[in-house]
């Protein structure tokens, strides 16, 4: 395949071809449907929980049996007409309401952190690749340094240190802080190879300033790999949110997130399997959908694989 060599700056041809190729894959369609469903769920969370009749923070003491450590009353974790997905043990909070609101928090954090990573990583990568020299040296050292940090350990520590701050914002920032070098390396490599392409040279000779060259000629060239890479790192972001919440340094109570729900439900995995399975399934489906979509995008947009 010689797709990369024929990428025209901002041309519509290859993009159309990519869309056609993607459209042929069943996994892409399914993934997109799953992602769309969860995204709608997240956006419409307040509306959906109103429909369900429960707010995510409302206790329902009648739905749990205090004498059995707060086990939900009724089969399948208390699934009923009243509580569509059953209730949380102990508190009797409505699982449906918590899952949809949890989607909001988890996806918000994942997307926002991804956005930070992509913007910062792309900017750093292009700058390093295009300007070279000292800029490249400094940025590359910074990438090496950031990648040398044991990121999860450091994230846990930073999350547990900070108080009196918005946890969602903090979590997004902390996850973003350690994610950017990966994409920066990809973009840097891509930029280096684009830098001396004829059309870039032509633009330079034609008197275009660096800003114009970067935005008009280089950025579209790196867009393909960046999009593929972005899709592939989203699952990691979602999993990181879950990991931090599992370790007790995630969002504040009573705000639900999938990670926080899984963390709490692990203790009930055998006594109330429904409670354990529901958030796990949501996390699983989302991660799987993004991974499959990302794989497909990479095959199509970045067939040689820019990762080292």
């Amino acid at each position: 395949m010689a797709l990369t060599s024929t990428v025209a700056p901002a041309g519509s041809g290859p993009w159309q071809r990519a869309r056609q190729q993607l459209g042929r894959r069943a996994s892409v369609k399914i993934s997109l449907v799953v992602i769309a469903l969860f995204a709608i769920m997240a956006v419409a969370a307040p509306l959906l929980s109103t429909l369900g009749g429960w707010s995510p923070e409302e206790f329902d003491k009648t739905a749990v049996d205090p004498y059995l450590g707060g086990q939900p009353i009724g089969p399948l974790g208390g699934i009923s007409a009243d509580h569509w997905l059953g209730v949380e043990p102990v508190t009797g909070r409505d699982l449906f309401a918590r899952v949809v609101h949890g989607a909001q928090v988890s996806l918000l954090i994942a997307f926002a952190a991804t956005a930070i990573v992509v913007v910062a990583g792309t900017a750093a990568g292009i700058a390093a690749g295009y300007f070279g020299g000292r800029t490249d040296a400094v940025l590359s050292r910074l990438m090496d340094l950031t990648m040398s940090f044991p990121s999860l350990i450091f994230m846990i520590a930073m999350m547990s240190v900070a108080r009196d701050v918005n946890r969602i914002v903090l979590m997004t920032a902390v996850i973003g802080l350690f994610g950017w070098p990966g994409i920066a390396r990809v973009v840097r490599g891509q930029t280096l190879s684009l830098k001396h392409r004829e059309y870039v040279d032509a633009a330079r000779v034609g008197g275009s300033g660096p800003w114009r060259i970067l935005t008009r000629d280089v950025l579209p060239g790196v867009a393909g790999p960046v999009i593929a890479y972005t899709t592939l790192i989203i699952p990691g972001m979602i999993a990181t949110e879950a990991a931090l919440s599992y370790l007790g340094v995630g969002v504040r109570p009573p705000t639900p997130s999938w990670g926080q729900m899984i963390a709490e439900s692990v203790a009930f995995y055998d006594t109330d399997p429904t409670y354990f399975v529901i958030p796990s399934t949501c996390l699983f489906l989302t991660v799987l959908a993004f991974t499959l979509l990302g794989d497909a995008l990479r095959d199509v947009l970045d067939p040689r694989g820019s990762r080292t």
Binding site: E57, E58, F59, K61, V64, D65, P66, Y67, L68, G69, G70, Q71, I73, P89, V90, T91, S160, R163, D164, G248, R252, P253, P254, V266, A267, F268, D270, T271, D272
Partner: protein, 580 residues
């Protein structure tokens, strides 16, 4: 209750118990009706009969000891383990189930101490023939030495009764550079005399603390003594890998004739640490193979209650004595909005204790609290003076808020330790119904006391508990409600920052009482008087549920050690079945 109804009731109870044993659905209903009785049936009783000598008792734990060094050991469970197995103190608690476990008996000492100068001076004589693990005799100087060590800044964490009561102890920094406390005298090897700052009739209670265990100077390794305390008890440490494994074997020089408390049944105790809490619960419930000769270190998780309570065979092995600590919501009385008594009372009424009890594992493992002092300090049952429904009274709370000029409620913050998150959410939910919007701030246990001890920067409300060190109101009310103990930083106990002149006056009066019975009654009355001023809301008293293995005998929750298993008398039914 007359005899007939009582018989009828017990028949009904037997029937439901049978039902519970036969099936799941039946079990659930039975638990609904009598959940409390199901968990507390073994209270005051010994589970498993009298043990046989020998075998290996295994202890499963998800954690390690905070400290085993007697100068630093001030966690109830750790004090049980240390003083029952590794070191002896001047006085200790009787090894018996139920209320008898609160009785003081001499341990190293020949009696409970002789007071003189109006309880300002206390003299103890040591028994003859008490030896360390190397065969050398225990001396009065060694006890003095350990009390002195507890002052060293290198060895923090221990009980501070010595610092609080001993004469001329201010500024003392331990026996470094040969400095010693003159207020502890050792006229001979077997006599020790303590001179106190003020009269302290309950001093023998304080000598139960591991601070009053012997440590020979030659064996003192400073901070590392924590990893290898030198034994004067029935067992000695064979190996101790922090957070992994502790193995105790018999101390051949321990003489049972000098020891009326410790039975020392097993030949060996192995504590496996760092396991996952829920796996421990599962293993204890299943009790298969070597796990039959096993006991858990920490209390059963609330989420495991559903695996235990419906099963009669497991319930037979369940201990659930009260921890005798009261969980409270303490409100910052020093500033708005909680400087207004009506606002604090509104919180008292709004709080749904039933929901918090459920969040804490349900009524089987918790009692809603209607007074500050736990039941043990009221002779077994807390009074209910305010008669607020357990589920709270949101209407009354809203009305009180209106009277306080806050008809629309207000917003506030509550600081809780990570482990109390669930309880805090239940409180948050209940107060919201009365219009009080609470933000929960969770803090790591390590930072918790430092955070709430900073009186200027802390939040309006904190969720904490207080445990009396021994069954007397003097170890509860003054610690929690005496305004003179408030410190700007490192404040502890009085997190309501409650400064009430009549209360403090009354506390001094009671402390000066010589008649113990009158003092007890006076503390109980004072508890109710403070409750009316509402500096804090008593929420619940937890139990310490433990499921022991099927081969375990002599097991009961020691009421003076917060319901922890009494390690003085636990052993095995059939030592041959345990793994060596």
């Amino acid at each position: 209750m007359n005899k007939r109804t009582s018989t009828a009731l017990s028949t009904a109870l037997t029937a439901t118990l049978l039902l519970a044993a036969t099936g799941c659905s039946g079990g659930r209903q039975a638990a609904d009706a009598h959940g409390k009785d199901l968990a507390t049936a073994n209270n005051g009783r010994v589970v498993g009969g009298t043990p046989q000598k020998g075998g290996t008792l295994t202890i499963l734990s998800d954690q390690d000891f905070t400290h085993l060094d007697p100068a630093r050991n001030w966690v109830v469970s750790g004090m049980d383990f240390g003083t029952r197995l590794l070191y002896r103190t001047l006085v200790s608690y009787q090894a018996a189930p139920g209320a008898a476990g609160g009785e003081l008996v001499p341990d190293l000492a020949t009696d409970l101490g002789t007071p003189s100068e109006g309880a300002r001076t206390w003299t103890f004589h040591l028994k003859a023939g008490v030896r360390y693990e190397d065969g050398t005799p225990v001396t009065a100087q060694d006890i003095k030495y350990n009390v002195e060590r507890s002052f060293s800044p290198d060895l923090p964490g221990g009980a501070d009764y010595a610092a609080r009561y001993l004469k001329d102890a201010e500024g003392y920094q331990g026996p470094a550079d040969g400095k010693h406390l003159d207020s502890i005298r050792t006229p001979d090897d077997r006599t020790i005399v303590f001179e106190l700052r003020r009269p302290f009739a309950e001093f023998p209670n304080a000598t139960v603390m591991p601070t009053f265990a012997p440590v020979p100077k030659a064996k003192d390794t400073g901070p590392q003594y924590d990893n290898r305390p030198f034994s004067s008890g029935p067992y000695k440490i064979e190996t101790y890998q922090r957070n992994k494994k502790l193995v105790l074997v018999r101390n051949p020089h321990w003489d049972p004739r000098t020891d009326a408390i410790r039975k020392a049944y097993p030949d060996k105790l192995v504590m496996v640490m760092g396991l996952r809490a829920n796996q421990i619960d599962d293993r204890m419930v299943a009790s298969q193979g070597a796990d039959a000769s096993t006991v858990p270190w920490f209390a059963l998780r609330p989420e495991s209650a559903g695996k235990v309570l419906p099963r009669a065979d497991v319930r037979k092995r369940l201990l659930a004595e009260s921890m005798n600590c009261t969980d409270m919501v303490q409100m910052h009385t020093g500033r708005a909005p909680f400087n207004e008594v009506k606002v604090r009372q509104a919180v008292q009424y709004a709080l749904d204790k039933e929901a918090v009890v459920t969040a804490s594992g349900g009524p089987a493992f918790n009692d809603a609290s209607t007074a500050y002092m736990p039941a043990a300090l009221f002779g077994g049952k807390q009074p209910d003076i305010l008669r607020i429904p357990t589920t709270g009274d949101a209407d009354k709370a809203r009305q009180l808020l209106k009277e306080a000029g806050k008809p629309n409620g207000f917003t506030t913050t509550m600081t809780v330790s990570n482990g109390d998150k669930g309880r805090a959410e239940a409180i948050q939910q209940a107060l919201a119904k009365a219009g009080i919007k609470v933000t929960i701030e969770t803090v790591d246990p390590s930072a918790f006391y430092a955070t709430i001890g900073d009186t200027t920067h802390r939040s309006d409300m904190v969720y904490t508990g207080w445990c009396p060190d021994y069954p007397s109101g003097s170890t509860f009310l003054p610690f929690v409600f005496d305004g003179r103990y408030i410190k700007d930083k490192g404040n502890s106990g009085n997190h309501s920052l409650f400064r009430d002149a009549p209360t403090m006056r009354r506390m001094d009066e009671i402390a000066a009482m010589t008649d113990a019975g009158k003092a007890t009654a006076a503390w109980r009355r004072l508890d109710g008087e403070i409750l009316a001023k509402a500096p804090a809301v008593p929420v619940l008293v937890r139990r310490w549920p433990l499921v022991v293995g099927t081969n375990v005998a002599g097991a009961y929750g020691q009421t003076s050690f917060g319901g922890q298993l009494d390690y003085a008398s636990v052993g095995l039914k059939d030592p041959a079945k345990s793994e060596g």
